[in-house]
Symmetry: C2
Subunit: 406 residues, 2 copies
């Protein structure tokens, strides 16, 4: 069945029916502006089918450990989030604090603490200032357009909030998917934590939700590289509250394809927002590798190219240094035959059959000076393709990340 | 048997008996100074047992392809090297040019072209200016103290030549090992090519030479990371001419241990020189991971930490941001138990049993402000250890690498 997927102008994580959010300034992060926020709650008026993907780092923050435990039932009502402190490498006290945060949020909402998940982003190795959180969490007012506030409460050195929502119509029925994310950076510069909360009012079976989230994340956040470091706090959560009243979506549903497609679009949109707003970034880089023997190889090659420091610095300087791109794919470990490689920067073919070909330098420089640079590598060995996103590497990145923590 | 290994003051790749070298300025690289050199020859008065390790990049430069082919016999007399052009992605013409370079060198020396290896470092995708090489290669004068000239002819954005030699005495017999290397950088910024030529006058069996080179490179150059990119030109070559007249060293010799130890020292010395002189580097970083369950895990963890952009920028800013180090080892994929980790920066313990402990901040800042920063991670899980070397990531790195190629 033909699905119609449309982005909602000013859409947010509370665009789907039955979701509410709000935030306040507790004082966990340094106040940068009059309207700083650092503590927020996302809440569904009915319990949700929920699942999440967490960091693969063996050092996991206390909120990750807690939320991972709580999600084994596949159910959640709310999530409480703070920025300014990651609550990582904080031992037993950290776990107790994360549990208390959930309890405090649950009291305000009137649900079981077991139904509340926790996420924190910020400096590692410092205890949460629980006094501040206890004193201020009551001030949070949950509203149906509170998604925008929540987006701001999750920001660290993010310069813009990252949120979106889409409506999906399949035949007679329809539903909405919303999402909010935070990306690279800290006020006290630290790890580039990824937090993403996705909401939908669709009725979705838990098994299919898990499957769809994994697929969407593989096509979006897992193809994103700011600097190659993985945070102990990374969390991508999806909550489905069923308010749309559609027929339950599972693997075999007519709506399964539309749901997957819409979820991918939301995740890719947010991943691109994060890449564009990477620490010190001035340009979004999109690398597509096609003609690979397998999807796994296409994915690996695209990721290696987009995260190569030499490619990233060249693009920062609008330098058409294609040798670095070819060399990066060469060292990626995927099958490559030099004499078969075609390479495009923007629309300009710079390498054909592994050899440089003459190109209009002025035109290419213009493309490289833009705010979005696309690189397309055709390996001409198979039919698999993949796209990865990243950003340029600027002097500003180094400056941000070499500032004193103490 | 007790071995005595001593570094030779001003030692070079021609310190071992019977090795000669020389260089000239051909014009392949832009002349930076009055005494610029870009074309050199290293030569042994008698044929050598020889072996080499080459780049793992699937895109291989023409000189790598040629030298790899020629070394199947385990024999070489000379190597001709240029800087300024990598002769990579240059197709059939590139292979013909590399072969011609070897032939020109062989004519001057009076040996078979098959006994001459080739190495090139520089911009990718440009043909070698063979006219310049033909016109100037005759000017090279080979001498026993020509090692220093060769070292300079290999430099690109290297700011200092990298060379050393050691004498080894085991009982009555003795021999010498010399080495020269180039590291990170290009005049037209490009890949951080590693070239290293090692020489020895020891009599060494080919099988043992291969084994010893692999072990030495694993403990040195393979533990080195400037920026994670691997060049299509990387070459580490060893030539043993037997002039010392010792009993042949093989796996079972009394001298095998001393030879290995001395070769490791030469390679580690050169690897540290390269790290210290990395593009834009202001500090050498040495990371030792101990208490790992296996050597493979210790090696992997040490490499991941030393190449983490967040660790590198923190050290650039003298920021005692230990959370980034713990998080990097956490994402390395090796076995880690958070509550067992001890972490030292210099002599200062900053994390014990996974938790931060109070430290003298002034003292630590002083250590971090030094030109060499050592990081020691004790995982307390096993007995294996490994050390890796790298450098800080500075604004200067970005500036160097974002300059126009064209």
């Amino acid at each position: 069945m033909e699905a119609k997927i449309e982005f909602i102008p000013q859409g947010s994580v509370t665009s789907p029916q039955g979701f509410y959010a709000g935030a306040t300034y507790a004082g966990v992060k340094k106040k940068k502006a009059e309207n700083s926020l650092d503590l927020g709650i996302l809440f569904s008026e009915v319990p949700c089918v929920a699942t999440a993907l967490f960091t693969t780092n063996r050092i996991k923050s206390a909120p990750v450990v807690l939320s991972q435990e709580r999600l084994w039932r596949g159910r959640a009502v709310a999530v409480v989030v703070n920025s300014g402190c990651a609550n990582a490498c904080t031992g037993e006290q950290g776990l107790a604090d994360a549990a208390e945060m959930a309890r405090l949020a649950a009291e305000g909402i009137g649900c079981s603490p077991e139904d509340v998940l926790v996420a924190s982003t910020g400096v590692i190795g410092q205890q949460l200032p629980m006094k501040l959180i206890r004193a201020t969490i009551d001030r949070i007012i949950l509203s149906h357009d509170g998604g925008h506030e929540l987006a701001r409460a999750m920001m660290t050195t993010d310069t813009v909030p990252k949120e979106t929502a889409v409506t999906v119509r399949v035949g007679e029925s329809g539903f909405t998917i919303g999402g909010v994310a935070k990306g690279a950076g800290m006020i006290h510069p630290d790890l580039a934590t990824l937090l993403c909360f996705l909401t939908t009012d669709a009725v979705v079976a838990l098994d299919f939700l898990k499957f769809a989230l994994r697929r969407a994340v593989d096509a979006s956040f897992n193809m994103l590289s700011i600097d190659g470091d993985t945070s102990p706090s990374d969390t991508v959560l999806i909550m489905a509250n069923g308010r749309a009243g559609n027929q339950m979506i599972n693997q075999d549903s007519e709506q399964a394809g539309a749901f997957q497609q819409a979820l991918n679009q939301v995740c890719i949109y947010l991943a691109k927002c994060i890449a564009r707003d990477g620490e010190g970034a001035t340009k979004l880089i999109e690398v597509t590798v096609s003609g690979a023997p397998s999807v796994a190889e296409a994915r690996l090659a695209a990721r290696i190219v987009v995260s190569s420091p030499l490619v990233k610095t060249a693009i920062h300087g609008s330098d058409p240094n294609w040798g670095r791109i070819v060399a990066a794919v060469g060292r990626s470990g995927v099958q490559v035959v030099e004499s078969k490689i075609d390479l495009y920067i923007g629309d300009t073919c710079v390498v054909q059959g592994g050899r440089p070909i003459p190109f209009n330098e002025e035109k290419l420089r213009e493309v490289l000076n833009g705010s979005e640079v696309t690189i397309a590598l055709q390996l001409n060995l198979g039919k698999a393709a993949a796209t990865a996103w990243g950003c340029d590497l600027s002097e500003e990145y180094v400056t941000i990340n070499s500032q004193y923590m103490t």
